[in-house]
Amino acid sequence: MNAAPIPHNEETRLNALRNLNILNTERQEEFDALTEMVSQMIDVPFSALTLIDENTQYIKSEAGGGYGVKETRRDESFCQHTIMQDAIFEVNDALEHNLFKNSPFVVGGPKIRFYAGATLKSSDGFNLGALCVLDSKPRKLTDEHREVLCEYAKQVIQMIEN
């Protein structure tokens, strides 16, 4: 299990997240269309839009059925690390990564080997979750794909806030 890193502004971040009233809501087909587009653009089998609450990672949408669940424990998630930074968080081979080699999503389930996530940063500066792409094979994002992922994440958070 990963030690859960906590952002310095965690309390206000959680308030901002909860004020969106989007946790525990029904799946929205529009977000599914967006994650499907991200998968297509970056040519990965799985992509997901996640929100990181106090103890839970909410999977608001996913394409490719990677996680196959609506939520996971925060301390098991890759995206808890993504929200700690503004740059893309990339794990090229999870089996070779100390934080993830024993993750239930790596050794079981979707058997994730590759993860790259871009932070969903709200307009008031809180890192609420991530737009991420995953693969069951090790890989590395190209510069073009990094740009696509960042731009899509910016657009997705705007849609969430609107």
Binding site: E29, E30, D32, A33, E36, M37, Q40, E151
Partner: protein
């Protein structure tokens, strides 16, 4: 036809009949297929020379719908109505809408054969091309 997702109307140009389909906001997959069934019905009932697909207010459609439109609906319509059907697309203004139009254009290029299609920034440009 006018709904929260689409407006469909026939434009009677002096030389051509143009069916204008304006997509709006996010169009769910099931609604998308219903819209295009309506468009197909209108094609069957009139002598349409060209299709004007206005995506300027489109937010997004899923890749599944994009593929279905080109590889299923468009190919069927081409065979059923006119192999030389002209398709003019007015580009979207939203980020994801622009990506959708780009995808559609790329997919069309691979299946359109002798049915010309082009993407334009506004309706005037599109209608000028259609009337040529």
């Amino acid at each position: 036809m006018d709904s929260k997702h689409v407006n469909v109307k026939l434009i009677n140009d002096s030389e051509r009949q143009v069916l204008k389909v304006s997509l709006k906001d996010f169009v769910p997959d099931q609604d998308f297929k219903t819209i295009w069934q309506t468009v197909e019905d209108k094609f069957a009932k009139s002598t349409v020379d060209a299709l004007l697909l206005d995506c300027s207010d489109l937010r997004v459609i899923s890749p599944t719908s994009q593929t279905w439109l080109v590889e299923d609906w468009f190919i069927r319509a081409k065979h059923k109505f006119d192999a030389k059907l002209r398709l003019a697309i007015i580009n979207a203004e939203s980020f994801f809408g622009i990506a959708v139009v780009k995808n559609l254009s790329n997919k069309l290029a691979s299946v359109a054969g002798n049915s010309p299609h082009e993407v334009f920034q506004n309706e005037n440009e599109a209608l000028t091309w259609i009337s040529q």
